[in-house]
Amino acid sequence: MTDAALTPSANSLRQTVEARLKKRHAQEMRFRLYGRLAIVIALSFLAILLGRIVTQGYSTFIDYQITVPVHLDASKIDKADPTGANYDMLVANSVLAKLGETDDEFGNKSGKVLEIMSNDLGFQLLKMVREDPSLIGKTVTVTGPVKSDAALYFKDQIKRATPEDERKLDNQQLDWMDKLKASGAVTSGFNTGFLTRSDSTEPEQAGVLGAIVGSLMMLLVTATLAIPIGVLAATYLEEFAPKNRWTDLIEVNINNLAAVPSIVYGLLGLAVFINWMAVPRSSPLVGGLVLALMSLPTVIIATRSALKAVPPSIREAALGVGASRTQTVFHHVLPLAMPGVMTGAILSLAHALGETAPLLMIGMVSFVPGVPEGFTGAATVLPVQVFIWENASERGFHERTAAAIIVLLVFMIVMNLAAILLRRRFERRW
C-alpha cells in the first residue's frame, strides 16, 4: 500500500468529515443540554428545599394573642394557698362571658374554650396573684397565645370546609373564634415568644431560646478547643515537622478523620467522655467536646492551606534578619495566614452548628424546658430541637420545626457571610 492510496484528496476527505458533522453537532447539543439540565435540577432542588421550609415555617412568626379581663373571684381563690385555684377555669369563664355564653353544668363549654386558649394565661394569673395577693377580688387583664390549633385556624391551615369530625375544632369553637377575632379580643402580631421561650409540651408555648443558647454554649466549647489545637497542630505540621513517616502518618490520619461519619464521633463521645470520664450527659460540655474532635481535622486542613498560601519569601526574609523559626512563624507567617485560618474555622464551626447525629448518641434528645443552667447542665441545641419537634405528633409542632430550621439557617448564613466577608476584606494577592 502506498501513501498516496491512504491520502485521499483534500476534497473527498472534507466530504467525509462534513457528512458526519450534523450528527456530531447534535451530539454536542445533547451533551451540553444534559449539563444544563443537571445544573437546573440541582438548583431547583435547592429552591424547592428552601421554598418548602419557608412556606411551612414562616407562619410560626405570626401569632395570635387573646386579651381578656379576668375577675379574680375571691370565692374561688384561697388567699392562704393561691396555688390551689383553677385559673384556667377563671380564664375560660371570662372568655365565655365575653362571648355572651354561660357554661353548662357539666363544664362542656368551658372545656371547649380551654381547647382554644393556651394554659399560659392561667399561669400568668397564678404568677400575678403570687406576686401580689391583693389582686384577689379585683379584675385583671391578661394577654396570652391561643392554642396552636386555634392559631392554625386563624392562619387558614385548619379550614371550615373540612368536615367537622375530621378536624380537631368543632363548628361552635370556630364560631367563637371568629367572634373573638371580630371583637378585637384576639389580635395577631410578630411571634416574639418563639424567640424568647424554650421548649414546651404545648406547641404554642414552645420556642427556640433554650436551643439557641445551648447551641452557642456548645459552639463556644468547640471553638475554644478545636481552633487553638487545630491551628497549632497545622502550624507544626506545615512549618516545623520534619517530613518523615510519622508526619506522613499524621497527615493521612487527618485526611481520613475528616471523612469519618459523624455518628462515629458520637459513639466515641459516649464511650470515652460519658462512660469513661463521667462528663454529664446531654451537656453543652460533652457536645462541644465531641464536635471539637469532629471539627479538628477540617480546622487543621484549612489552616494548612492558609499557611501554604503565605509565600516562602516572607519566611526567608524573617529568618534572614535573625529571627528564630518560632518567632518567624508566630510573628510573621501566622498573622498573615490568620484571615484564611479564621475563614476555615468559622466554616467548620458553621458545619458543627448543624450537626445532629453525634449529639443524639450523647443524650441530647431529652426534653429541656429552659435555658441550660451551665456547661454541665442538660441542654438542647437547634438541630436536635428540629429533630425532636419533627417527631412530635401535633401539627403545631410541624410548623415550628420549619421555623426552627429557618432560625438555624439564619445562623448558618450569618456565619458563612462572616467567613466570606473576612475572606474578601483580607484577601491578598502576592
Binding site: 500500500m1 501513501d3 491512504l6 491520502t7 476527505l13 468529515v17 457528512a19 458526519r20 458533522l21 456530531r24
Partner: protein, 275 residues
C-alpha cells in the same frame, strides 16, 4: 514579486513575498488581522501570505503575538473566553472566520502541534487513531490500522514503536512524544500543519530529528512554525516573518530576512541584541 500583483495589494508592504518558491501558490492569506484578548490588543493589522508546500517560520521576542497569530489560523482562539479576531484570514481563498466554515472541518484541515508534547493518556495506537476516529475517516479496522501505520512512518516513529503500539503514549520520551503528536496531526491528512515551538522542550538530538521530519513533510503540507531559534528558522524555513509588539515588522524569503533585513528591529533581533 513572485505572486501575482492583482491578488497582492500594495498595503502589505512589509511582506516581501517568497521569492525562493516563485511558483508556490498562496495557501494562507492574512489581511489586517487584529486580535484582542478582552481589552488588550495582541495583534495589530497583520497581513501575511503563507505559500503552499513550504515552511514558513514566525519569529520574534516573547509575547509579540506569534502564537496568537498561529491560533487564529485554526480558530483555536475561539476557545479562549473574551478573544476577538477581526480582519480576514483566507485558507485557499475561503475566509476561515466565515459563518459557513465549521471550526471542526477547519481544524481537520489545519493540524496543530504544541510547544509541550501533549499525547492523550491513551495507547500510542489510540493517540494516532484519535483524529480518524472522531472524523469517521477510516471505514474499517484494517484501514484505521493502515492510517496509523503510515502516519507513524511519516512521522519517523514507526520503527521505534511498532512493537509497543498498545502501550501508553505518555510512556515515550519527550522527542518521541512530539513525533507521536505530529503523527496524530497528520493522521487526518491535514492541508496545513501549525507548529508552536515544537522543539523548545527537546534536547538537540531530538530537535534535529524533528527538523529533519519537518523538512520531509514540507513536500506534502504547508507548514507554519513558531520558533525562538534563529538557527532553526534559518535551517528549516523558506519564508520568515518577524513579529514585534503585536505587529508584523517584516516578512520575506528566509535567506533575505537573515542576510539583508530592511528593518533595524529585525536586524537587532536576529543578531541577538534583544528579545
Amino acid at each position: 514579486m513572485a505572486h501575482d500583483t492583482a491578488t497582492a495589494p500594495v498595503h502589505i508592504a512589509v511582506d516581501r513575498g517568497h521569492a525562493a518558491l516563485p511558483n508556490a501558490p498562496i495557501k494562507i492569506r492574512a489581511r489586517d488581522v487584529n486580535v484582542f484578548y478582552g481589552e488588550k490588543q495582541a495583534l495589530f493589522d497583520v497581513s501575511l501570505d503563507v505559500p503552499e508546500n513550504s515552511v514558513t517560520a514566525l519569529i520574534g521576542p516573547s509575547g509579540c503575538g506569534k502564537s496568537t497569530f498561529l491560533r487564529s489560523i485554526n480558530r483555536m482562539n475561539d476557545t479562549v473566553a473574551g478573544c476577538k479576531v477581526t480582519g480576514r484570514i483566507e485558507l485557499d481563498g475561503e475566509d476561515v472566520n466565515d459563518r459557513s466554515i465549521d471550526p471542526v472541518v477547519l481544524r481537520a484541515r489545519v493540524g496543530m502541534v504544541f510547544q509541550k508534547p501533549n499525547p492523550f493518556p491513551k495507547t500510542i495506537f489510540e493517540n494516532v487513531a484519535y483524529g480518524p476516529r472522531i472524523h469517521g475517516i477510516a471505514s474499517g479496522k484494517a484501514e484505521l490500522e493502515a492510517i496509523v501505520e503510515s502516519s507513524l512512518k511519516r512521522a519517523g516513529l514507526w520503527t521505534e514503536v511498532a512493537d509497543r503500539l498498545h502501550q501508553p503514549g505518555t510512556g515515550l520520551s519527550g522527542g518521541q512524544q512530539q513525533r507521536l503528536v505530529i503523527a496524530r496531526a497528520i493522521a487526518v491528512s491535514p492541508e496545513v500543519i501549525l507548529m508552536d515551538e515544537p522543539c523548545s522542550a527537546l534536547d538537540p538530538i531530538a530537535t534535529a530529528r524533528i527538523e529533519e521530519l519537518i523538512d520531509e513533510l514540507r513536500n506534502q503540507y504547508c507548514i507554519v512554525i513558531v520558533t525562538h531559534s534563529m538557527a532553526q528558522a534559518a535551517r528549516v524555513s523558506q519564508k520568515t516573518a518577524f513579529f514585534h509588539l503585536g505587529k508584523l515588522v517584516e516578512a520575506g524569503p528566509t535567506g533575505e530576512i537573515f542576510t539583508n533585513p530592511r528593518d533595524s528591529r529585525t536586524q537587532d533581533y536576529i543578531t541577538g541584541r534583544f528579545g
